[in-house]
Amino acid sequence: MEQMVVAAGLGDILEKVRAGERLSVADGVRLYKTNDILAVGYLANLVRERLNGDRAYFIYNQHINYSNICTNLCKFCAFGKDKESPQAYEMTVEQVKAKVRERLAEPITEVHVVGGIHPDLPYQYYLDMLRGIKEVRPEIHIQAFTCVEIAHLAGLAGKSVPETLKELVVAGLGSIPGGGAEVFSPRIRQRTCEKKLSGEGWLEVAKAAHRIGLKSNATMLYGHIETMEERVEHLAALREAQDETGGFLTFIPLAFHPKNTELHELAKTTGIDDLKNIAVARCFLDNFPHIKAYWVMIGPKLAQIALSFGADDVDGTVKEELITHMAGGEAGGAMADTELIRLIRDAGRQPVERDTLYNVIKEY
């Protein structure tokens, strides 16, 4: 098989991958520009199996999107709404608690909480929400508030990011999700989400979180107006931050869904795009322990294949996810754990149920 990787013009990258040597930005761009997805996938699979063997992780989690009211109104987003919009909503702390209570009978280990940049919910609301969730389900791990929200909360609190994070941790915050990274390039942010926290700002929040002992994830929203070079620069910035702090657990490439967004004239990402983003990330991000194929975004079929193209995680039994769904995501909102386990096993991998921090809950 290696002769096919060589035939695809990737012999030197194969050598590097075999030797565990770090890929350059130019290597990353070449991988993105290679038409032979099998060759790129083969390289990614070498790294995947070296780091994670046959394991394929999933988590039993619950998503809560507390409000879609957002002052950023990014062009690639179908979820965020102006406060005056008839589709705008916000949950009270009691409503959030009720959502958690509804599913107490299920073996959920993580609640994943993200929302818009709300113009007037007070800082106290966020602290109360964390405390409220913990009251209802004390043992649950709360993964909440993207770096963009954290920066906003620090502004509301009038405190530094580390101080704010410490207060959130006391209230119940367990870790930080990877959203809001989009593509770090200032060119892309200016054109698609100019009001959003900058790429540098995002990385600063993530690193601050890592420094106080919080783990976080990282994402990249691909498939809109970014170039291959901008993708690799994004990955390079993440790799550098990870060298500094080691606090990232998982990289999650997110496929842009154009429906109902201001960029609706753009085409949807294809299967090759999706797999390539997973595979290139696995080759390039040598210091990230995990790469996730988020099945809600790319569909369960492709997520299963991704387990052979670099991914070692498929997220979980997500229910009530709204952000992808509003943008025309076609995968159903929920998948039974038995079906996840079947898909993983059928792809020749070992299903491992994990908690947020990748402690093993059960091996199947």
């Binding site: 096919m4 997805i37 099998l38 294809t270 299967g271 079929k301 492709l302 299963q304 294949i305 020749g348």
Partner: protein, 351 residues
């Protein structure tokens, strides 16, 4: 069995045996099968081109005496919901197809209990009046016509051909192994009869395709047996233009309790088909069952053809699978895989 040796043999252009095919399916990993199938596909089709046909599936009736356990489309003859399309409806569908740049129609239906052969001849002449290629009547239908009319298969085919039939679709092959056929579709023609219709058709100068519907009650060895039977006939006649493997869709069928074949197993089976069927030029991706993402990926697992745009499709839809793609979406997917999309006819000449 040594996978590496099988791989080398196949890469050298040598034919693999049924035992080797079973070993590849059981022990070859996804990357090995993909690399091998892709190499063979590129050898057979060095130009980076992916073809598709613009057509419509017209099901002239859903009334069927066969009652196959894997089918969600048919209506039993006593079911009042069953229907037969009128010629006026047929004509409308054909004109719509032509308006969309369609070059052919795929004409298939249930095994109707009592329509005489003349009914089908008249239907063909009517359609031919609209001037379009008719890819119609899978082998089980032809066998059924022969039984009802007490005529030999060859004579039925001659009459259908004279009435306007151009080529024959490869449907109804399911798994070409009588054990599986008897368990899932006991009233449908058996393996030899299916192959017999194709052999006669090829002898009369009609091109045909071959399909395989897998992922129900068959063993892996029986899948390979299916491939071997198709390959043997192709050695004799050379009449198959393409092979189309697609996984059984269990919803709304009598076998609804079976688990659905996953994308992973689909791609392995597709790749094995490309590797094993060294004498068949084209392998089609099944986007209607797999969706756009896996269908695009299929182009690296042996497929060089996107099949039909299926302006209309009823049979798979009845089993709860709803993927739809426009011609433009197909072209975008093909281009996204680094290939050039080209519209073709049934015989793979380009439009």
């Amino acid at each position: 069995m040594d996978i590496k040796r099988i791989t080398e043999k196949s890469l050298a252009g040598e034919r693999i045996t049924a035992e080797e095919g079973v070993a590849l399916l059981a022990h070859g990993d996804l990357h090995q099968l993909g690399f091998l199938a892709n190499a063979i596909r590129r050898r057979k089709h060095p130009e980076p081109m992916v073809t598709y046909v613009v057509d419509r599936n017209i099901n002239y009736t859903d009334i069927c005496i066969s009652a196959c356990k894997f089918c969600a489309f048919f209506k039993a003859p006593e079911d009042p919901a069953g229907s037969v399309l009128s010629f006026a409806e047929l004509g409308e569908k054909i004109e719509e197809t032509k308006a969309l740049g369609g070059t052919q129609i795929l004409l298939q239906g249930g095994l109707h209990p009592d329509k005489p052969l003349e009914f089908y001849e008249e239907m063909l002449r009517f359609i031919k009046g609209h001037g379009i290629h008719i890819h119609g009547f899978s082998p089980p239908e032809v066998c059924h016509f022969a039984t009802l009319s007490s005529l030999p298969v060859r004579e039925v085919l001659v009459r259908l051909q004279q009435a306007g039939l151009d080529s024959i679709p490869g449907g109804g092959a399911e798994i070409l192994c009588d054990r599986v056929r008897q368990e899932t579709a006991p009233r449908k023609c058996l393996t030899d009869a299916w192959l017999g219709v194709m052999e006669e058709a090829h002898g009369l100068g009609m091109r045909t395709t071959a399909t395989m519907m897998f992922g129900h009650l068959e063993t892996q060895a029986e899948r390979v047996e299916h491939l071997a039977r198709v390959r043997d006939l192709q050695d004799k006649t050379g009449g198959f233009t393409a092979f189309i493997p697609w996984p059984f869709q269990p919803d709304n069928t009598a076998l609804a309790h079976l688990p659905k074949t996953t994308a992973f197993q689909y791609l392995k089976m597709l790749a094995l088909s490309r590797i094993f069927l060294d004498n068949i030029d084209n392998i089609q991706a099944s986007w209607v069952t797999q969706g756009p993402k896996i269908a695009q990926l299929s182009l690296f697992f042996g497929a060089n053809d996107f099949g039909s745009t299926m302006i209309e499709e009823n049979v798979v839809a009845a089993a709860g699978v709803g993927f739809r793609l426009s011609e433009q979406e197909i072209r975008t997917l093909v281009e996204g895989a680094g290939c050039v999309p080209r519209q073709r006819r049934m015989d793979y000449t380009l439009v």
